[in-house]
Structure formats: C-alpha cells, structure tokens
C-alpha cells in the first residue's frame, strides 16, 4: 500500500474526511498526480496530502544582551527529522523491562508518559504531526523558538 493511500485511509478512520472524499482522493491518486488530487478533495484533506513531511527540527535561541554585553547571543540548531526517526527506532529496541522502569521513573517525576506508545509503526504520523509544532518562549532576556520545517 502506498504512503498516500495509507494516509487517506487514516484520515478516513480519524473522521477528517468523508468516505466520498476518500474515494475521490484514491481515484485521483490512481489516475493523476498529487496536484490534481488536491483540487477535488476537501481543503483540509488536500492540505494534509499536499504538505510535504517536515525534514528538520529547528531550535533558535536569541539571548539578547546577556553575558554583560550589548550584542546578542544567537543559537541556531537544525536537527534532521531522520535523526528523530532513527532515535525512535532505536528506542523500539529497548527491552520491555527497561521501558517499564523508565516509565515508572518518569511517573515519579510527574510525567505521565508511556514509552510503549512510541512505536516505529506510528513514526510517520508523529513526524507529520511535528509539522504543526511551534513553541515560542519570549522572555525579557531571551527568546526560544522551536519548529519543524
């Protein structure tokens, strides 16, 4: 099954598009390139399909006027999404016992997060969702911006 077809079925399962729209999208995928598929579906479905997966996670820090000088310190980091994918895949190899311990340790620190929920099968969806991520912290002395691109 192709990636686009899988994505259409996932959107249908999540209720983002109707069965009729899904059928039109699949038909358009089979007969024409992606650009024409986008025009016959709902705007949301077309947008999701047309949008390429993000390639990088970017972290920008602007610490203006810190360290006793007028000049700002700027940090610009670009991490490939492939690194995140590889990390998740590596995490999938962690033995169950170790994951349970990590979960327990995080719960003890107040983070109710289950490492078992991150699986290589969900990877593409996780990366695609990161596309909508944008964290901006704006304080007096520093600005931090994290986003996918």
């Amino acid at each position: 099954m192709s990636e686009n077809r899988k994505q259409i079925l996932e959107m249908l399962a999540q209720g983002k598009i109707t069965a009729d729209e899904a059928e039109r999208l699949i038909a358009a995928l089979e007969s024409a390139p992606l650009s024409s598929a986008s025009s016959s579906a709902s705007p949301r479905a077309a947008e999701v399909l047309a949008k390429p997966a993000p390639k990088y996670l970017r972290v920008q820090v602007d610490a203006g006027g810190k360290f006793g000088t007028d000049k700002a310190t700027k940090v610009n980091i670009r991490v490939p999404m492939a690194l995140i994918r590889a990390g998740v895949r590596l995490g999938g190899l962690i033995p169950q016992e170790a994951r349970d311990r990590a979960n327990a340790a995080m719960r003890a620190k107040g983070m109710d997060f289950d490492l078992n929920s991150i699986k290589p099968e969900n990877l593409e969806e996780i990366v695609r969702q990161l596309d909508d991520l944008e964290i901006t912290v704006d304080e007096d002395k520093a600005k931090v911006r994290i986003f996918a691109e």
């Binding site: 390639k55 990088y56 360290f67 000088t69 000049k71 310190t73 700027k74 940090v75 610009n76 980091i77 670009r78 991490v79 490939p80 492939a82 690194l83 994918r85 590889a86 990390g87 895949r89 590596l90 999938g92 190899l93 033995p95």
Partner: protein, 87 residues
Amino acid sequence: MILPLVAVIRIRTLEGRHIALWVPLFLIWLLLLPFAVVLTPIFVIVCLAVGVDPFQAIAAFWRIFAAFCGTHVEVDSPNATVFVHVY
C-alpha cells in the same frame, strides 16, 4: 543511507581570527572500522543476553549515525562565532 562524510567547522574569535576546518569524517570511520570488527562479537553477545536482535540494533545505530547528515549548529556570541555543518 550513508554515513556523514565531512563536517565543516568554522570559528571566528573575538580578535577577528577565522578558523575553517573541513573534518573528513570518512577517515574517522575508516580508523574506527578495525575496532568495530573487534567489538562486534561482544556487542552481539550483549544484545543476545538482553534479548535484543543484534542485526536490528546494528541497523538502528547505523541509522542514527547516518541521520546526522544535514545537522547544522550555529552559535553567534559576542566572544566567538561557531558554525558546524555535517555533510
């Protein structure tokens, strides 16, 4: 997926000195290869002991190293500017 081959490091100091380094990572991989060959049996034994497929583990580590291609770090401070890019 291939491993990163070159890293470019550029440093500009407060005095205005520019240092540009092209680090040939492929040479580092070649230097590490004999160690990897020697350590592979130990790695496989450890993987089997903890119940992890050694081939999957090696593939996962390979992907991690390969995924460093395109990493970019830039720090611009009053004292120095550092630029690192992995190709």
